[in-house]
Amino acid sequence: MKWSSSLYFSDSALYYDASMKTHFFIAFLVTGIVLLTCSSLAQTVVIVNTSVPSSTSFDVDELLDVYTLNKAHWEDGSRITVFDLKRGKSKAAFYEYIGMSEEELQRIWLRKQFTGRARPPRSLSSEEEIVERVGRTPGAIGYVQNQSVKNNRNVRVVAKIKGTK
């Protein structure tokens, strides 16, 4: 077996070269698969409570409207409860996706709150907390890395943020 024989020094240079190429190719393949898997695991996703109507669109404009609090209700008339992360890669990825900075959103939230129009998002410390609160709050929405969702049956992944790792 070439692979196993390549573990030993061979007297044949030609055979050594071929064995090493195969070895590198397999290593490259395995590394690629691992990286792709890790990349897939670390993707930022948008989650909602399962009560949110499945017909709802979650494109970038929709998410922007929800997080600027301009859209306060889902299509079925239920109130939207927005959750936000205090910090982390998911937050940076999500904000970049909707094209807003933290300061811009804070300014908008403060105005909406002080004019009575909306309640600013609840800012939570961990992704696990986001998943748990979205899961038990009807009409809730949040964003986390997809491995944080695990098998929580009360939340539904509705959008994946492109280009996040």
């Binding site: 209700h73 109130r79 094209g99 804070q106 709150q113 009575g116």
Partner: protein, 431 residues
């Protein structure tokens, strides 16, 4: 208990009696709301949200005044300096989402070191309304509310949202003896229907509202000048309600455009109501001619027009608004006597780094109410956000006021110029 608490600040010199009358019921209402907050905090949507803001200031002022009246051989020059500390304003806000469709909101405002014991400042209920959300395109708000008129009216007493300490001229309560905000803007309405509709990368906004013409019709005091010809007022038998209820109502609205990320906002506003000229604060009744004075016995049909614009591009931003107030008075027109008011405000700012914002602003107002008066305010300042809840602010303001001779209206040639330089330092705190 999840009770969010946040805060603003502001000032006024009047309405002590009103504040005292409100104190007991207000404190009782506050206690009830706080008790309610404790009980209802368990459910996210039912909890009472309590937050607020306050602003505390130190200011120094140098004033200089000159008055000239050549025919009366009057020449006067005076100057004065003073400085003081003040709790400019504190607001407490209560908000409750009663169901998916109903929301209630209350704004209780304390101004200028409020003390009923010392008769300082004022306590007032600025807003108390309930909103019924039919859809994002249709909201029905009822109660005491700030109506949609330009962009500043809605946040005129939310000082924590602004980088400045001293508000634009007509909104500044420190100048309430000079400028009554309601001469330029509809301060309150009682029913408003509003909504926003997505329109590509924008939202189209609209609002229409109605309410009482202005608060001077509700006062119990007799007219300040002229002959009382208002029959309704002579039959006034209810306290604290509009005695001219049948005649004078406010109607207004705004249409606007807002980008989805809220970096661009603009709109046009209009109102129609009546102004009780007998209560006009700006009219120097003792100076105007008898012909001009006769105009001030009347209620004048009034139109206010407004335009607003704000744009933010990265760290730079600009805010601007203008207001034109016109009166429909045949008698004034016959006498070639102008009754109109104008206001213009522009502010340009830059976020040097996130916590530090610098800005400069220019305001101008023209007042032709028995005199030809011009007001200019030049202002520059900085706001530094110490953390997410506390901001330090500094501002320099130059205020110039010029009364020119208006032979149509004045009994004597009269020129007056006042220049005041203010230095403000303060802190704005979100509670």
């Amino acid at each position: 208990m999840i009770v969010s608490f946040q805060a603003t600040i502001r000032i006024r010199e009047s309405a002590c009696g009103f504040g005292r009358a409100l104190l007991v019921p207000s404190v009782a209402a506050l206690l009830l709301l706080l008790l309610h907050a404790d009980v209802l905090h368990a459910q996210e949507s039912d909890e009472l949200q309590l937050f607020g803001s306050m602003q505390t200031i130190f200011f120094h002022q140098d004033s200089r005044m000159t008055i000239d009246s050549p025919t009366e051989n009057i020449h006067f020059t005076g100057s004065e300096s003073r400085s003081t500390f003040a709790l400019q304003q504190m607001d407490l806000f209560f908000r409750k989402e009663m169901s998916d469709n109903f929301t209630a909101f209350v704004d209780l405002e304390f101004q200028l070191n409020y003390s009923s014991e010392k008769h300082w400042g004022s306590l007032s209920l600025q807003e108390a309304w309930m909103n019924y959300h039919v859809s994002d395109a249709l909201n029905i708000k009822t109660g005491l509310l700030y109506p949609a008129f330009n962009q500043l009216n809605e946040i005129k007493n939310r000082l924590a949202l602004q980088p400045y300490l001293f508000r634009p001229l007509i909104y500044e309560r420190l100048l309430s003896s000079k400028f009554l905000a309601e001469d330029f803007i509809p301060e309150h309405a009682f029913i408003q229907i509003s909504g926003m509709v997505p329109f590509g990368d924008f939202f189209a906004e609209y609002a229409v509202y109605t309410g009482n013409a202005e608060s001077s019709y509700i006062t119990q005091s007799a007219p300040s000048g002229g002959i009382d010809t208002d029959v309704n007022e002579n039959f006034e038998f209810l306290s604290g309600v509009d005695p001219t209820a049948i005649k004078f109502k406010l109607f207004g609205g705004r249409i606007g455009l807002q980008s989805r990320n809220e970096q661009l906002k603009c709109g046009l506003s209009v109102t129609h109501d009546y102004n009780n000229l007998r209560d006009s604060s700006a009219t120097p009744i003792h100076l105007v001619t008898s012909e001009a004075r006769s105009l001030f016995d009347k209620d004048a049909s009034r139109w206010r027009f407004g335009a607003d614009f704000s744009y933010r591009l990265g760290p730079a931003f600009i805010d601007a608004e203008m207001i034109q107030v016109l009166y429909d008075s045949k008698r004034a027109a016959e006498q070639k006597f102008e009754l109109e008011q104008s206001f213009l405000h522009t502010m340009v700012g830059y976020d040097i780094a996130y916590p530090l914002t610098v800005y400069g602003s220019l305001q101008w107002s023209d007042y032709t109410f028995g005199l030809d008066a011009d007001y200019f305010v030049y202002s520059a300042g900085a706001a530094y956000r110490i953390n997410s809840d506390i901001g330090a602010k500094a501002q320099v303001i130059v205020y110039e006021e010029t009364y020119k001779n208006d032979p149509q209206a004045l009994t004597i040639p009269y020129n007056q110029k006042v220049t005041i330089t203010f230095f403000f330092l303060g802190f704005s705190v979100l509670l």
